[in-house]
Symmetry: C2
Subunit: 227 residues, 2 copies
């Protein structure tokens, strides 16, 4: 399995790539035309939005707050998005793309079910460690998304869960595991993975590192699925 610092770099490169994609897709609403400037400012805007939203909620964050935080004026901000709703959409999209891209890349590298399960758990934890603000944001603001994006978020949740169900079922078929209820087992895995980024304060207060947490979860899952 990939190590954490290489992993971080991979994610950061992905972030810029995807900001570039977003720029080209929203070419009509982004008035600025120089790619380098746009990508630089989009990263600043996204990070500031995540910071402010995670403190007091996206609705409660005003564009004036965002202006103060980014150092850009109201007018400048509105040359990057049509309105608050489009900003929400762009951020949601960026995160979904990065996570699904990286998660799939990492799982494909592993051959047997047990290693795929371990890789999936570790990768998800690493991802939510590097992109903690986005994961928290996506969870907390899901109900404020447009109907279309809400559906996308639900699909993403179910997709990740299906990924775990499939690994568990494959392991059972090959005789590696003896999992009784792969649906509830996958739901349990998702729940504990989410706890890691939603309750960040709890684990950091207790000095529990991501590796320790990963090892613990894997050991618990292996107790559930192995006779």
């Amino acid at each position: 399995m990939i190590n954490f610092s290489v992993f971080s770099e991979l994610v950061m490169l992905s972030m810029e790539d995807i900001c570039r994609d977003i720029f080209h897709e929203h070419a009509d609403s982004i008035k600025t035309k120089k790619e380098k400037i746009v990508v630089k400012n989009l990263v600043i805007i996204f990070n500031a939005t995540l910071k402010l939203s995670n403190m007091k909620g996206f609705q409660a964050m005003s564009v004036r707050d965002l202006s103060r935080e980014t150092g850009l004026s109201m007018g400048a901000l509105y040359s990057y998005f049509k309105g608050k709703e489009e900003l929400l959409d762009m951020i949601q999209n960026q995160g979904l793309r990065i996570t699904s891209r990286i998660l799939n890349e990492q799982i494909e590298n592993e051959s047997d079910a047990r290693n795929r399960l371990r890789a999936a758990i570790r990768t998800h934890l690493f991802l939510s460690e590097v992109l903690q603000p986005w994961f928290y944001f996506a969870y907390m603001e899901a109900k404020n998304l447009s109907k279309r994006l809400q559906k996308q978020a639900i699909e993403s949740e179910l997709y990740t869960e299906k990924l775990f169900i499939d690994i568990l079922d494959e392991g059972r078929r090959r005789g590696d595991f003896k999992v009784e209820n792969s649906i509830l087992a996958a739901a349990l895995i998702k729940a504990v993975l989410q706890d890691w980024y939603l309750k960040r304060w709890k684990y950091s207060r207790r000095n529990i590192a991501v590796d320790e947490y990963a090892d613990y979860i894997i050991s618990v899952i292996e107790r559930i699925i192995i006779e």
Copy 2:
């Protein structure tokens, strides 16, 4: 253990009791003086607030929305609370009191560690089933609370978790369990209990009932803690 319909009734009675307490504590800001009217309207206001907040967030819910939903005018609403913030406080308080009261009552009834653990899990799930809107609300709006109430929410989370840690440690001391890491085990229990009320749509879509979920969690925990 108590059955679910008796349990529901117990909670509902508790709710009125606590609205009565809230009325007396906020006697200065609640202009209406007839207890019966106040309690009736507080229950209506609280439920409407939970409904609207859980759809689009407390900040995004305007007092006008609340007026429409409750059938009370703006003026009438403002005779029950000084402002939106006080409303938030009252609701947060009401839920915290009910849950800690009921949880303690139910656990005290059980004698040995294994039954206390089962009772704690079942009671927490039943509570979050009856009071699902409040549990969801408390989780999602935690970051919008005043500093004082934010501290209260954290204490409440840690208190419930400590309750599980203590049961696990007691079981280990008496030789009932063989739990390796009671802190991480308790965190895992909390995470899956929270998933039940935060991802309500997922479990109801799959027709998983609260009893089935409770049994599953208990069986998983017993695999973790028992050699």
